[in-house]
């Protein structure tokens, strides 16, 4: 059987979901954002909730998320996505409302909004991309940048006396009574992609069950910011990011 015989609609096993449109994404080659976007789009398609989902895009690389997923979106001021999501979900309780935020957005400028949305137990899903760097602005130090990790604002590596410790905000959110599901995932292998998809789906489902806030941290790469190839970035992430931000569920009720 040759290739042209195999390439037949009846043999189709994997295709881009139509929820993700054909606009080419602006992300750098190999960026984790694309995989996570794809997973969210697939979940929206599989759950058949395209008409019931409202996404909140952050400031950062994912500011243009609204260009790629064909759902209604609001783009928030830097860090304020959980405040927008709070109001939207309270006014439209039968909608799926999720935020998509990076580490600078969620764990630095938006710390207050994040913690208080979680503390109120808003019935939203928070998708948190942690790549330990500010990608969009050119690779500056983030709250989650590892000790010794170089960035354009920690060119000699993050120094604890100067910059403080990497902020493990997900651990903090797991302690809050308002959260029902807090998990840390990655998308660097087939297995991790599958697990991450299940986690995001669970977060979406929770938001309709009045259980509280779900947080899915996705430890990610920023190969441009890290100045490595995408494959090297994945390896570096496993070796260096995972010990600081270990994989798995922190809370699941």
């Amino acid at each position: 059987m040759n290739v042209t015989d195999i390439i037949n609609p009846s043999n189709l096993v994997y295709d881009k979901t139509s929820v993700m449109n054909d606009t080419p994404m602006h992300y750098c080659p190999g960026c984790s954002h694309g995989v996570v976007h794809k997973l969210i789009a697939e979940i929206i398609e599989e759950m058949d909730i395209q008409d019931k989902t409202i996404g909140i895009a952050p400031v950062g690389c994912a500011v243009f998320a609204y260009k790629y997923l064909d759902i209604d979106w609001q783009q928030a001021a830097h860090g304020r996505a959980p405040a927008l999501a709070t109001a939207i979900k309270r006014l439209l309780p039968d909608r799926y409302v999720f935020t998509y935020q990076g580490d600078g957005d969620l764990a630095a400028i938006g710390t207050a909004e994040t913690i208080h949305a979680c503390n109120r137990g808003e019935n939203i899903a928070i998708i948190f991309i942690n790549n330990g760097i500010y990608g969009m602005t050119g690779g500056q130090m983030a709250p989650t940048t590892l000790e010794g990790m170089k960035s354009s604002t920690s060119p000699h590596g993050r120094e604890i006396p100067l910059n403080g410790y990497p902020l493990n905000i997900t651990n903090l959110l797991a302690q809050m009574d308002g959260t029902c599901y807090v998990t840390r995932q990655a998308v660097h292998t087939v297995a991790s992609v599958r697990k991450c998809k299940k986690a995001i789906q669970k977060a979406f489902e929770n938001s309709m069950q009045n259980k509280g806030t779900s947080v899915v941290e996705i430890v990610s790469t920023c190969n441009s910011g890290w100045k490595m190839t995408p494959d090297e970035s994945n390896k570096w992430m496993v070796e260096n990011m995972f010990p600081e931000y270990p994989m798995g569920d922190l809370k699941n009720i």
Partner: protein, 75 residues
């Protein structure tokens, strides 16, 4: 045990040549082309199509959703 044969179609204009699919492929099917797309990226393609088992690993890890996978049971 059932044996599968597969094939992938890469949306070469959407592909950015990040190489992650090449690394993820368990059967060494994929490689980056020497040709470049209109944006200058050396896109991914089936270098060894005979080896493809249609496992979709490449498509799962592809950040730009540019891989479509087909699979047939051969025995």
């Amino acid at each position: 045990m059932a044996k599968f044969k597969g094939a992938v179609v890469v949306n070469t204009e959407r592909c950015k040549g990040c190489d992650l699919c090449v690394v993820a492929c368990p059967s060494s099917v994929l490689a980056l082309s020497t040709e470049a797309n209109s944006k200058g990226f050396n896109f991914s393609h089936m270098e060894e199509p005979e080896n493809c088992i249609g496992c979709s690993a490449c498509a799962y890890v592809c950040p730009d959703a540019c891989i479509t996978v087909y699979k047939v049971k051969v025995e």
